[in-house]
Symmetry: C2
Subunit: 144 residues, 2 copies
DNA sequence: GTCCTTGTAACTACATTGATTACACGTTTA
DNA sequence: TAAACGTGTAATCAATGTAGTTACAAGGAC
């Protein structure tokens, strides 16, 4: 099992739009950098647009970030590309036997634990912004 | 996307083995409580056995926990049933374009973040044991 | 030896991912 | 205005993983 690379690609797209803001980043151009098909990029950009993270216009090349770099958290992107449903990272078997001590109680025992684990993971993304990503990329570029 | 219910079922199996320790818990019996097929249970129990969490013998009904309740963490079970590979909860698109500032650096920028997020999640399971689960189930049973 | 059990393999239906092609429709520009 | 380029989106495909099911070999208990 693995969470869709849409998340990583979403981050890539947004970072690229910012670092390439002098010229328009078409889906074709971005696809070249990500190394995939332009239609895949357009689909993900559609999700980012729907989430209010970028502004894109049908027919016109390029997209712009809707907010400041520092005001787009990785969690915003994570939610936008819809890789994990709310409180459904882990799945629990349904209809355990109600006449069994364990079967009767297991779901309500496990559920809050799974939710806590998912929250702990998501918190990491809430505390990071696109600015952190872009600065890290720029720093690496500077060294070389 | 969702992490396999093998994890939840694994917890269910171990809790049931403990709470039902007076009588032998055959795979058929456990399957009834979990509400699935006995072969599915045997497969998961095979994983738990391989991880050294339970003792089972071919041909003889029932299984026993290999350790104390308090010495089996949820993380042990999580690893045993193999629902998420080491540092591979999130996937990153491969072969981004090496001539692009973003493509060249995105993987090394994102990877440690994804690892941190996965670790944060796993830490929740490292801090909980089967004892916590069983006590919670017993407490619920007591109230009713 | 009979019966119950575990350990496995094989097969199925189903869902999701990511790539690909195709095309409608918007925008630009020559 | 017509051609060129770009976005939006649907349809299809191969690959993969999950969970259920059946079947059966082989171990152990009586």
């Amino acid at each position: 099992m693995s969470i869709s690379s849409r998340f990583a690609v979403g981050i890539h797209i947004l970072a690229l739009i910012d670092l390439n803001k002098e010229t328009a980043s078409s889906s074709e151009f971005i696809a070249g950098s990500v190394n995939t098909n332009a239609a895949v990029i357009r689909k993900i950009m559609g999700m980012l647009k729907k989430a209010g993270l970028i502004d894109v216009q049908p027919g016109v090349a390029g997209a712009k970030l809707s907010r400041e770099l520092s005001e787009i958290t990785l969690f915003d992107i994570y939610k936008a590309v819809n890789v994990v449903e709310e409180n459904e990272l882990f799945s629990i078997h349904d209809k355990p036997h109600p006449d069994c001590v364990v079967g009767k109680n297991i779901q309500s025992t496990i559920e809050p634990i799974f939710m806590a684990a998912q929250s702990a993971m998501e918190k990491v993304f809430q505390n990071l912004t696109l600015e952190d990503i872009v600065k890290d990329i720029e720093a690496k570029e500077h060294i070389q």
